[in-house]
């Protein structure tokens, strides 16, 4: 229902275009004055017929009338209209009648659309005015009519489609990438800068413009030791003393290439500055406070049980055994428990330790203080 109405509306628009055509000579009439106090005098009064008087609201009943009117408009359009009129006249009468009938029907049916809508004066922002550009009114579109899967099922289906798409890529397209594989070639001695880029596989990401460059001052063969040291000092906290590498990054520009260019220029500038002999920075010590070396404890080599170490230990045990045996024989092996048992009844234990003179004096003093 709605579709027929739409097609009708489109037809009417097309017709309106044609009616606009007939206004063309009026618009192009340069003879008409923009501002005047005298009444306008028309050169050919009445020649344009009712076309000029009817205005844009004039409607034709038949196609033939349209063409006849058009032929009067201008020479060029008139020629084309005349050709079309000739063809129109050649049409059989039934066809013409059918078309005229259709035209009438269309006009009748679209009358309601063409009718100007009255906007109530109290309406706010013409809210009640129908929007003629609206294709659907979106009413009842989302109603479920028991003739489809649920949205979850649609989601699942979409997921499967995605799986299958990637499976197809993996099977059919990925193997083709092998054609582009290049053998790894280690960087040459003059390729000292190592750039790192980030890609998110075609996705847009704020970090994909970032470029990181790493280089070692030791790789610049044309620098002297002093200049290399100056380069490290210039790099500041970007220098890693453990790896002897300077690492810098840039993401201030919009594109990767711009950032890379900036880094390249920066390295160039740093090397130029390092080579500058006016100030070699020799009075400034290299600042490594930013870097803390993390000590990683490893298993000591000395503790490994090698064959030699085993022999050594064996000899050590033998030596220890001999020492103990010798002591046992000579009676020098001391046993704490035995010693206590031996001395338990002896007089030596009950003998008091002689108190040195200084201590004795102190204890007397203490005693007096306590009393």
């Amino acid at each position: 229902m709605a579709t027929t109405a739409n097609s009708l509306r489109l037809c009417v628009r097309a017709r309106n275009q044609i009616s606009g055509l007939k206004n063309a000579p009026l618009q192009s009439a340069l003879t008409r004055r923009a501002l005047s106090t005298t009444p306008a005098k028309w050169a050919e009064k009445g020649t344009s017929g009712d076309a000029g008087d009817a205005g844009p609201t004039k409607f034709y009943d038949t196609t033939g009338d349209v063409l006849k009117d058009l032929a009067k408009v201008s020479k060029r359009q008139g020629r084309a209209a005349n050709r079309m009129l000739e063809k129109w006249d050649q049409l059989p009468a039934e066809e013409v009648a059918k078309l005229d009938k259709l035209t009438k029907e269309v006009i009748q049916e679209t009358a309601a659309i063409r009718r100007p809508t009255k906007v109530s004066k109290t309406a706010f922002w013409n809210e009640a005015e129908p929007d003629t550009d609206l294709i659907t009114d979106e009413v009842g579109e989302d109603d479920f009519e028991e003739n489809d899967m649920t949205s979850m099922a649609h989601g699942k289906l979409e997921e499967h489609r995605e799986y299958r798409e990637y499976a197809r890529i993996a099977v059919w397209e990925m193997p083709l990438l092998a054609k582009f594989a290049k053998p790894f070639q280690p960087p040459k001695s003059d390729e000292v800068l190592r750039f790192r880029y980030t890609t998110y596989m075609g996705e847009l990401h704020p970090a994909d413009k970032k470029v990181v460059v790493e280089f070692s001052p030791a790789d610049f063969k044309d620098l002297t030791d002093i200049q290399r040291l100056k380069l490290k000092k210039l790099a500041g906290a970007r220098y890693n003393p453990e790896k002897d590498i300077i690492k810098m990054s840039c993401e201030q520009f919009e594109h990767q290439a711009q950032n890379k260019r900036y880094l390249g220029d920066l390295v160039k500038d740093m090397i130029t500055a390092a080579k500058d002999p006016t100030d070699t920075f020799e009075d400034i010590p290299l600042d490594l406070r930013h870097h803390r070396v993390k000590v990683k404890h490893k298993f000591p080599k000395e503790w490994l049980l090698t064959e030699e170490r085993k022999k050594e230990l064996e000899a050590e045990r033998k030596r220890a055994f001999l020492i103990d045996e010798n002591k046992k024989l000579s009676g020098g092996l001391i046993d704490g428990v035995k010693r206590i048992q031996e001395l338990q009844g002896s007089e030596a234990v009950h003998e008091r330790v002689p108190v040195p003179s200084l201590m004795a004096g102190q204890s007397r003093k203490d005693g007096r203080a306590r009393r």
Binding site: I334, D335, E351, V353, L358
Partner: protein, 481 residues
């Protein structure tokens, strides 16, 4: 309307109780008299207490308000206080208890064959790994020098005895050669915690006492620099130096007691007009030391004594000057100048005297040794000392010198200057022979209740890495089954 509502959101939940409710709880009930000393008289036959809301119920109305007016306590129950029957200790008694040094124990077994320390015992490498008992007279001298520490394990044994370790023999030989060549041995004893640094100083003092040296000891350097003893600027010094009279007096008395026999043999060579009491030339140094009776004259007497000891002469004995707790004098002290600026430890006259000898600025003309021991337990951080000692160690080992951190600001150049040329002795763990000697002594004293064989020694040695203090912890402070 919305603004007050939104502002109300900022209030605490306790404060957000609607005013009407709060007011309702506070409505004076007919049952309660607004103010009364007698209980409220309710209607006969009713139980007013049940129905009437107590004022306590409205407590959340005001935050921090306490209607009862009592101090709130988080504790659920009050702790029952025990009856105080014992007399509280008198002033100073607790400290005396804490500092008490007990050198003998009647319950410990006497050790058979324990040799007494003799003047040459600690010089002989054959004695490494054996124990030597400190003779009774020397115990008194060492005690007056405060060579014993309360943290050491003296009370566990019948008689104080020390282990002669290789470092002991090394140090005593160096001391002996320095004395015989009339040179000054300047040495810092360092090492990890409880590796026996203080005990090595004690052994050196014992050696000095037995070999007729004059022994001066600063038992705890922190007593000089932590602002716990009185101080006063010395007049006519630039930059101003500070004397510590009370400490000086204590030190002179210790010197006098410990070295009485040596000092009584030496006579004075100078007249000392600045002394409070006339000490004529050729009177004994003991008499000079006795002149210090008041703290006011202590620093002057000490200077006179030092001047006499520093006089070159055939009959003059070598001097041993020891100090324990080196990091305490390697920093800015806690004392303040009259301008309320912190005083550097090196501006304290006594510390300066020691540092000058240690750094070699003044040498001992009759030979002798100046020993300083670092401390790790209660030590302030002294990066300069650590660095200087590490550098001296590297110099001795012939390796690359550690460099100061270029951007570190905590270094103290004056301290570094002191340690520029000293030699360093780093104490580490005992060898197994020494460990065995020690453990045999413990077993013979009845403390270590097991057979001391190589296996037991190896077990304890491995547990403690040979560090003496750790061995004591492992063997003496652990319950053995």
């Amino acid at each position: 309307m919305s603004a007050p509502n939104s502002l109300r959101c900022l209030l605490r939940p306790s404060a957000a109780v609607p005013r009407q409710i709060a007011a309702a709880t506070w409505t004076p009930s007919p049952w309660i008299a607004p103010f009364s000393t007698t209980p409220g008289a309710g209607k006969a036959g009713t139980t007013p207490k049940k129905n009437v809301p107590k004022p306590k119920a409205a407590a959340p109305r005001g935050v921090g308000m306490n209607p009862t007016g009592k101090k709130q306590s988080m504790k659920k129950f009050k702790k029952a206080q025990g009856a105080k029957t014992a007399k509280p200790p008198l002033p100073g008694e607790r400290k005396a208890m804490r500092k008490r040094i007990q050198l003998s124990n009647n319950n410990a077994l006497p050790v058979e064959g324990l040799a007494e320390l003799e003047p040459g015992t600690m010089l002989n490498p054959k004695n490494i790994g054996t124990m030597a008992a400190l003779p009774g007279a020397m115990q008194d001298n060492l005690r007056s020098l405060e060579a014993f520490k309360a943290t050491q394990f003296w009370p566990m044994f019948r008689q104080p005895a020390t282990l002669i370790r290789s470092e002991t023999v090394d140090l005593m030989n160096r001391m002996q050669s320095a004395a015989s060549k009339k040179e000054t041995l300047r040495l810092v004893v360092t090492g990890e915690r409880i590796t026996g640094k203080s005990l090595l100083l004690l052994q050196s003092m014992a050696y000095g006492l037995q070999n007729d040296w004059v022994v001066i000891n600063i038992p705890e350097a922190q007593e000089l620099t932590t602002a716990c003893t009185e101080y006063a600027p010395i007049p006519d010094t630039d930059p101003v130096q500070y004397m510590q009279n009370n400490y000086c007096l204590k030190m002179i008395q210790a010197i006098r007691k410990a070295n009485a026999s040596v000092l009584s043999k030496i006579t004075t060579a100078y007249s000392h007009p600045e002394l409070p009491q006339n000490i004529p030339i050729n009177s004994t140094l003991l008499a000079l030391a006795n002149a210090a009776k008041e703290p006011e004259s202590a620093w002057v007497v000490f200077q006179a004594l030092w001047k006499e000891l520093m006089r070159k002469g055939a009959a003059r004995p070598p001097v041993l000057f020891t100090l324990d707790g080196l990091p305490h004098i390697m920093k800015v002290s806690d004392y303040r100048s009259p301008a309320f600026e912190l005083i550097h430890s090196q501006d304290l006259a006594l510390v300066r005297l020691f540092s000058d000898v240690l750094s070699g600025a003044t040498s001992l003309p009759n030979g002798g040794a100046v020993l300083a021991a670092t401390t790790r337990g209660n030590a302030p951080r002294s990066p300069s000392m650590d660095l200087a000692l590490a550098q001296r160690e590297a110099e001795q080992a012939g390796t690359e010198l550690p460099k100061p951190e270029p951007y570190f600001k905590g270094y103290d150049l004056r301290s570094e200057e002191v340690l520029k040329t000293v030699s360093v002795m780093k104490l580490k763990g005992l060898s197994k022979v020494e460990a065995r000697g020690l453990m045999e002594y413990w077993a013979a004293s009845g403390i270590f209740r097991a057979t001391v064989d190589e296996k037991a020694v190896a077990a304890k040695w491995a547990l403690s890495a040979g560090v003496v203090g750790e061995m004591e912890r492992v063997n003496l402070l652990t319950m053995h089954p």
